[in-house]
């Protein structure tokens, strides 16, 4: 109605403003160029959309790929940045064309990278399916011979790279900034930090206990301090300091070493484990840590009412899944038994070679029954919490900081030199680095991109290869990406060396294959394809598309 009024009256300002708006829109439309095609020998390549979740580095990589594809193949790609939950939803419902992704391995074995791409695997999310691949992955899981098993993974990855439902970009690097007076930090392929080994030193002398306060940034507010309920690395960092599982990780190799269990025996089939708990391990309330505590804690995770999202980590135990699904209600049928106070017997469904590694994971850490039952959902508050790790929680200021002090009752307390941990939950990367530079924290677990050059030769910057790969997913169910030639062409057109050198800038290794093989000494990766724009164009033409380079 108003528009009519305006027209009727011929108000010049209104029409002038409309013109301005139209002009503005026209100008904006001009910003995005139209694809050109002068090669009549094929159909024009449709415009693609690339999905990434909001983050400065994802954006820069996406922008670089967009330009590389435009230059080498003349392909137009629209970028779409969405927030995290939308991104996850789009991937899971295959509502995308190309999407950035990353995968962190659970243990140094090709399986943790390759089994996700089996047909209908929950983490496949590409729509890709290959019967031979499925067969190989399944066979590898059953294979007892290590060499044979690795060969199967090799063949499987070869198929994956030939079909290319995913395009590996580079292998991640952990970038930690640590002050030079901090000693005993270990840097491993999973970026797990066990702070009981850390101590502070000034002028070659270990500082006295009262000055052994280690300040660091956690990068987010922990969602929970209940190890059974945790899902993320921020929470894991805290639980590693205040709890301890049956085993713990060697800080360098991440091999399982004795924790609450002093020793263990395994049967030949790798299905039955007997753990002998150390007798001097105590909860912070003075009670001994017993086999019954583990039965209680794991049973608790397996009760659906607990709503532990990682309950499935325990499904390797015999009948555990059935118990969770309420197919059986008698917990004594589950393969978990406290033989006596200090002996725990675990029976697995099938041989699980990473079972021992899993024991150090937060989901399997023990919780104190008395404490949990007394305080219910408030048991993780500093005034209530009972733990068994090298440090104990004394203060938790939400969204601000957690304070932990050395636990004098810890069985290995004599070797713990830090007397206090202060973990800030500062989310902003830049603020975190500023705190480090201003001396208000001694350790930051990431170096933001704009700082990579500043710290490229700084001894405070510790870079180690991460058991993780940065890659892109293709939605293989829709044109034009349902054609493996197109997917391979897109991969071949990317100059990953340049990308790593100029964009990510932290010494990442380019990935021509998917599995971070440098962490797996027995694994021989298949031959990957290097940057080859000529071949990329050939493949596109072969797929029936007109190729026009942007140059």
């Amino acid at each position: 109605m108003m528009k009519k009024n305006r027209k009727a009256n011929g108000i010049r300002s209104a029409s002038a403003k409309l013109a301005v708006a139209a002009l503005a829109l026209a100008l904006l439309a001009g910003c995005s160029g139209k694809p050109k095609s002068d090669d009549s020998s094929g159909k024009p390549f449709p415009k693609l959309q690339l999905l990434y979740n909001i983050s400065e580095s994802h954006k820069l990589i996406a922008e670089t790929l967009q330009q590389m594809w435009k230059k080498e193949l003349g392909i137009q790609v629209d970028l779409a940045n969405v927030e995290w939950k939308t991104y996850l939803k789009s991937l899971q419902s295959l509502d995308y064309q190309i999407a950035r992704a990353g995968w962190i391995g659970d243990y140094p074995d090709p399986n943790t990278f390759l089994d996700m791409f089996v047909t209908d695997g929950g983490n496949n999310q590409t729509g890709w399916s290959n019967a031979e691949y499925d067969k190989l992955i399944k066979a590898a899981a059953m294979e007892g011979n290590a060499d044979e098993r690795m060969k199967m993974f090799h063949d499987a990855e070869e198929i994956l790279m030939k079909e290319m439902p995913i395009m590996p970009i580079y292998f991640y690097v952990n970038k930690n900034l640590v002050k030079d007076f901090v000693k005993g930090m270990h840097f491993n392929m999973r970026d797990l930090h066990i702070l009981k080994y850390v101590y502070l030193e000034k002028n070659g002398k270990v500082l006295p206990p009262q000055e052994q306060a280690f300040l660091f940034n956690l990068s987010a507010e922990p969602e929970t301090l209940d190890p059974g309920m945790m899902t993320g690395s921020v929470e894991f960092t805290i639980s590693t300091q205040i709890f301890e599982g049956l085993v713990q990780y060697d800080p360098d190799t991440l091999e399982p070493i004795p924790g609450m269990a002093e020793s263990w025996e395994v049967n030949d089939e790798h299905t039955e484990f007997v753990f002998h708990l150390r007798r001097n391990a105590k909860w912070t309330n003075g009670d001994p840590v017993t086999a019954g505590d583990f039965v209680y804690s794991w049973k608790r995770v397996l009760e659906p009412e607990t709503t532990a999202e990682y309950a499935y980590q325990l499904f390797y135990i015999k009948n555990a899944k059935k118990y969770y699904d309420k197919e059986i209600s008698d917990f004594s049928q589950v393969g978990l038994k406290a033989v006596d106070d200090f002996t725990l017997k675990v029976t697995l469904d099938s041989p699980t070679h990473f079972w021992l590694d899993l024991l150090a994971f937060h989901t399997l850490m023990p919780v104190n029954k008395k404490c949990v039952e007394k305080f219910n959902d408030k048991w993780t508050r500093p005034e209530n919490i009972v733990t068994n790790g090298p440090f104990k929680l004394t203060e938790w200021k939400p969204k601000s900081k957690l304070v932990m002090v050395k636990n004098p009752g810890y069985y290995d307390a004599a070797k713990v030199r830090l007397s206090k941990l202060v973990a800030y939950s500062v989310e902003d990367n830049i603020t975190a680095v500023s705190m480090f530079e201003a001396g208000q924290s001694y350790w930051v677990n990431t170096i933001p991109l704009p700082y990579s050059e500043k710290y490229s030769n700084d001894p405070q910057a510790k870079k180690t290869d991460f058991l993780a790969v940065y890659y892109y997913r293709f939605n293989t169910t829709k044109e034009p990406l349902n054609d493996p030639r197109v997917r391979r062409a897109l991969n071949l057109a990317i100059n990953k060396d340049e990308l790593v050198k100029f964009v990510t800038k932290s010494g990442e290794k380019t990935a021509t294959t998917f599995v971070p093989h440098m962490h797996m000494k027995d694994y021989e990766p298949p031959q990957g394809e290097d940057y080859n724009p000529e071949e990329a164009r050939r493949l596109l033409r072969e797929a029936g598309y007109a190729v026009k380079t942007g140059k």
């Binding site: 939308t86 009412e305 500023s434 705190m435």
Partner: protein, 305 residues
Amino acid sequence: MLRYVARRLLTAIPVLWIIVTITFFMMRLAPGGPFSRERVMPAEVQKMIEERYHLDEPLVKQYFRYMGNLLRGDLGPSFRYKDRSVNEILAAGLPTTLQLGSLALLFALLVGIPAGCLAAFRQNSAVDYAAMSFSMVGVSVPNFVVLSTLIYFFAVKLKILTVSGWGRWDQMICPVVALGLMYSAYIARLSRAGMLEVIRQDFIRTARAKGLPERLVIIRHSIKAGLLPVVSFLGPAGAAILTGSLIIETISGVPGIGREFVNSALNRDYTLTIGTVILYSGFLIIFNLAVDIVYAFLDPRIVYE
């Protein structure tokens, strides 16, 4: 007056109800849920968890369940921060946000009103331009730029302030100034405009003509009337400090609820989102009401029936 206040508070109830309803359903339109993760969990685990949180029920049923709890004052559990309820999270963060907001407003008033008055009394002079230019910085530069610059120079380079945190004065200066600067700009402009209007009015001229000293004229007559627009601005501003502090709280690591406003929505923490929205709207209503009451005291011509 009391009846007026009561009536205003009564009308607030439907407003809050509408807001809760809109937020409730809009949140569910957003893709993904509180438990969608990068690693897809097995379907049975997902199902169990959704059952546990009643997310498997029809939306309308969930809505009535939520409204029922809300009427009892229970905002529910947080979907993300599993160790805390929404009530607890809001109670923990609110004092900090209010402290940040009121300090910022105080700063804004201390800077804005003198600048505005000065500018008004020396209209179109160098003083006017200087005062207005200075105050304009706040509305011309995004607050994340202001805050980053303050932190960089005073905390990282000069090391006289602390980069992040809340509680000590050396942690509070940067966020308070960065947040307050914007309000000081508005306040300076409003008070300038208000004063200009008052100065032109007859009673001031009369006062001047009566030979009253200039300073007395200013204090006794103009300031009270000239600042009315500032007062009415304080209503929305008072509530805006809750949300406006999102960026400030994130960058400065202030443990308030300002950042919860957006973060909870992005995390699909449905209950926490509605909780913060109720809080915001409640504050907005109360602040606006308070402003109208103060207005009545400042300007006796206004009568509330």
